[in-house]
Symmetry: C2
DNA sequence: CGAGGGATTGAGATTCATCAATCTATGTGG
DNA sequence: CCACATAGATTGATGAATCTCAATCCCTCG
């Protein structure tokens, strides 16, 4: 745990009140009546800032908190020990980090920040109490888990059955729509995209070299391009079709 | 729905009472006090038998029931449309089939029986009521989901980062330990194994031809062999090591 | 005994990984 | 402000893993 803490910098207690939270519609307290937010907030012990590329918790170790992503991007991953890494999903604002049904069991995966970020922390041992006392939160947690399950299953489908270019198309299209759903006001077709080519490879089960070549192909085909942490999608329809990604699935998550 | 029903054969109403259920420790009603079982059982509308290789429900269509597997093997899968198929997981006795947090949404995946089987059916629209009235069932459902999430993430890791032989080793080792956990009395090292080589391929993201060649290699190496629906594991330790499978994870699911 | 589904094997093509080198952008210390 | 260090991006050459196509075999079942 000391290890965890070292990567997190506590910011002034409760800087953002849950009542004022701009992403509450996305997060754990979606559906909690305004009048209850004051006491549900007491389960949120504090907010942390995290610099980019810091480990939040690690596979097989204990973690005292679960988190809601308030700001920033995170990668959830597992390592099979042979120096490889599989990114299971990318977590964005509103997502939960570190929930497991066996609350006190060691973590089954690791989490790392991809950008400078802000996390809302919930002490793990208080969760059962919170879930028992507020049915909205319990229901919401189930929804968030189901959404993550969906993302995981879709990823399994794409990695198991699609080619490199199809996997990358799927991966980028999904992220694009998730970001769009979070930042609805943002009209631009370009999105901030902090992943390295290696991150994309670890997400899609490809080497960074092959990712590079595939991205080149996609650029040449006028599908999309990534440069200086910016994803420019030129032909979203073709991209979705290529990756076999259905944009309506993001909406039917009913989480955004 | 008519389509669903056509594959299911209703058996005499409530042939097996929940109080007498031999696999209850594995299933949804694990943890429900004896005295409550009589009324929780009322949410189980009936039991069905299913012949092998029948579709239980289909991706993108509605399904009126969710199920507990009472007997038999099932494959949960998705199809990307190009004739391919990704098996997401194998469901065994005690597992839930067809739960999604959006109860009334179309199914996100399909399910097919791999053997002659028996299912306990729960009308979908009554689930919220059951979950509200019995906290044990709600908690148990969360556990079962978390376990499935774990299986899915492990699968993602193996498909994304491991070679053919490693994937198959992982896949078979996991199934072996799951079966052993269910049928504890069974001492034999051989287990009934109804999957075709094509099924294994669809589970591990390989073609059936390559599965065949890889199985041959494993046979020659004295690791394991599959013949006439029987999996004989000769060297479980090497198999686990090869597939990077940790047997203790099955125990820590805490579900068996 | 014939039919059909799965298993097996071979040959050749393709995709993707590996190894190695260069290039570019970014940030850092002097 | 420059020189350097570093991480990520890019490209080439080569080889391995896996897929595709095609043929045959084997077992089971009607």
């Amino acid at each position: 745990m000391a290890e965890n803490k070292s990567n997190l910098i506590e910011i002034e207690h409760n800087r953002t009140a849950c009542t004022d939270c701009s992403i509450r519609r996305l997060a754990l307290f979606h559906g909690v009546p305004e009048e209850d937010l004051k006491w549900t907030q007491t389960y949120r012990s504090c907010q942390y800032t995290v610099p980019a590329r810091r480990e939040i918790y690690r596979e097989s170790q204990h973690s005292d908190f679960m988190f809601t992503v308030y700001h920033g991007w995170f990668a959830i991953y597992k390592t099979p020990g042979n120096g490889k890494r599989q990114i299971l999903r990318i977590s964005l604002p509103g997502d939960m980090l570190g929930f497991q049904s066996e609350l006190e069991a060691p973590m089954t995966h690791s989490a790392v920040s991809l950008t400078d970020s802000v996390l809302c922390a919930f002490p793990r041992h208080e969760m059962p109490d919170l879930l028992r006392k507020n049915i909205n939160v319990a229901k919401r947690l189930t929804e968030l888990n189901a959404r993550d399950m969906n993302i995981c299953q879709n990823r399994l489908l794409t990695i198991g059955q699609q080619s490199a270019i199809e996997r990358i198309a799927f991966f980028c299209a999904e992220l694009f729509y998730r970001i769009k759903a979070i930042y609805k006001e943002q009209k631009s077709v370009d999105i901030f995209f902090p992943l390295s080519q290696e991150d994309i490879g670890d997400s899609t089960g490809l080497t960074k070299i092959h990712v590079n070549r595939t991205l080149k192909t996609m650029r040449e085909q006028g599908l999309m391009e990534i440069s200086s942490k910016c994803l420019k999608i030129h032909d979203i329809d073709s991209l979705c079709k290529l990756g076999n990604f259905d944009p309506t699935t993001v909406q039917t998550y009913r989480l955004y």
